[in-house]
Amino acid sequence: MIGVGKIKQYSNILEKPLSKGKQEVSLSAFAFLFSELVQYNQTRVDNIAELERRLEDAGYAVGARVLELLCHRDKGNRRETRLLGILSFVHSTVWKVLFGKVADSLEKGTEHEDEYMISEKDLLVNKYISIPKDMGTFNCGAFVAGIVRGVLDGAGFPAVVTAHFVPMEGLQRLRTTILIKFAEEVLQREARLG
């Protein structure tokens, strides 16, 4: 028989292994889609805070799914129980899969025990976006903050995650920082675990 393939035929689609999938997506396609997402939400809200919340909610849905997928694909179905573990998971694995590189830095907040910050010099979603002056401190990185919140929530580390612009010397563009503030129970559990 000509053309007998080497592909194993699976009788049941559930038995097929999860494929790695396409590693790359067109940046322009994503930029246009994200721009449309922002515009769509802009027409349906009354104020900036509401817009930010909607973007975060959109990101939350992405985060929950990304956690499931990455747990299966990259971590062999093991889950993180420690704070630093989940943070470095977000900082390296999640960032690598979503944006193609690890995040620039992961820092612990100095003022409060429960605050951590992931910084990025040039956040991918903000690459082509210029915020008009009258929108104040609005940051489209709220979408990424939502993703992080989705991942943390799904992993059992409830937190409040926000995105902020931080001015940096030597660069005209502002650096984006994702600020993660963990809930009380997370810190208590962490303390119990030692």
């Binding site: 721009s35 082509y128 210029s130 008009p132």
Partner: protein
């Protein structure tokens, strides 16, 4: 003052000086703003004039198939124009004999697609007020100036 217009024939001239770049769409007009040569009203006037001339030139050509004016040479300045597939025109007014303006216009077009069209806060056919676009445009012009003039 004599004016010669070249249609569909690229010409390169040297030197890049305080240039204005006005972006104009088919039906409306977008104004980037100037580096010091023309104020907003003047550039609006030039842009609308140029748009009409551009349209007339297609009828004026003695041969068929003329799509645009690429270069207008006057006594003291040059005007290079680049038209995208959608009809959006980019033109730059520069000193006589400036080279590589075509390349510059293509780079500006690329910047326009990236930083203006992908910006959700930009409304079509409005003046461009995008910070990132401005920053990158300034950088490009500076780079060009250093490369061509060495200063």
């Amino acid at each position: 003052m004599s004016i010669r217009a070249y249609m569909r024939k690229p010409l390169y001239d040297s030197r890049d000086e305080n240039s204005i770049i006005t972006v104009m769409a088919r039906k409306g007009m977008l104004d980037y703003g100037s580096k010091g040569c023309m104020d907003t009203n003047d550039s609006l006037r030039v842009a609308s004039l140029w748009h009409s001339m551009h349209a007339i030139s297609q009828q004026l050509s003695p041969t068929t198939g003329c799509s645009e004016i690429e270069l207008l040479e006057a006594n003291t300045f040059d005007l290079h124009c680049f038209q995208s597939l959608t009809g959006t025109k980019f033109f730059v007014v520069c000193k006589l004999g400036t080279r590589h303006m075509e390349a510059l216009l293509k780079v500006v077009y690329k910047l326009y697609i990236d930083y203006v069209l992908k910006n959700p806060f930009y409304e079509m056919k409005m003046p461009i007020r995008c910070e990132v676009f401005d920053i990158n445009l300034t950088q490009t012009v500076q780079k060009d100036r250093v490369a061509l003039l060495g200063r």
